[in-house]
Symmetry: C2
Subunit: 138 residues, 2 copies
């Protein structure tokens, strides 16, 4: 039976390498961070990473964090949703928390309907401090 951490089997070699790197990482990685970690596997050029990332993001296996110019593996392997996902990014430890909220999504949809705006993609990123880091700082 399939469970939430299955990795799709139809990824290309580069896509697999990139997704593996993201999954193994504690926090978000830039494309160049990923490249550096994969030099040993034969990757040499940024484009090899960017191309893999494009596909992974398309398929919902990874997300791009716009405010960081960085990427994370999708935390919820069975979700792969196209809907709105919000990210909470800790400025201390870099940890990223991911959540979906139907209320916000609906609210947004209603704003869009009112103005005749057709929503194609939404990014929502919250910067701050996670509970762990607040505790440590106290």
């Amino acid at each position: 039976m399939a469970h939430s951490h299955d990795i799709p089997t139809d990824l290309t070699r580069n896509q697999e390498l990139v997704l593996g790197t993201l999954t193994a990482s504690m926090g978000p990685l830039s494309a160049y961070d990923i490249l550096d970690k994969l030099r040993g596997d034969g990757l040499r050029a940024p484009l090899q990473v960017y191309r893999a990332l494009d596909k992974l993001v398309d398929r919902g296996l990874a997300h791009r964090l716009e405010s960081l110019n960085a990427f994370v593996a999708c935390a919820d392997m069975h979700c792969h949703r196209k809907g709105l996902i919000a990210f909470a990014i800790c400025e201390s430890c870099g940890k990223v928390d991911e959540f979906a909220d139907e209320v916000i999504e609906e609210r947004l949809g209603s704003w869009a309907r009112t103005g005749g705006f057709k929503v194609e993609r939404t990014t929502m990123e919250i910067r701050g401090r996670c509970a762990d880091c607040l505790k440590k700082a106290a």
Copy 2:
């Protein structure tokens, strides 16, 4: 009496130039776009623009659009709020609409409280097509 289009008088020359450029522009501008428009006024280096932008963003007179690596003048000159602002960005014409939504803000706050996350800053950017462009395309 003050009204919504007053420009603060305590801006430095560079800040004034940059804000003026943003205000005059139809859509978002990158720092380098701004620089190019201000060469005639004596600006020469990216840093001159970035420094001005930092201050303007701090004061709420301009906003940074993370998903575009670009900047816009604040649409609502008397708002200058620190709270959550959402941006709707038209992929066709580049127009940016700015709105604040308390429901979303509260919903987000409640999610954060639950997880013990301390929110410092939130960016929300909606990509899609504006009503005008949808009409033209039809």
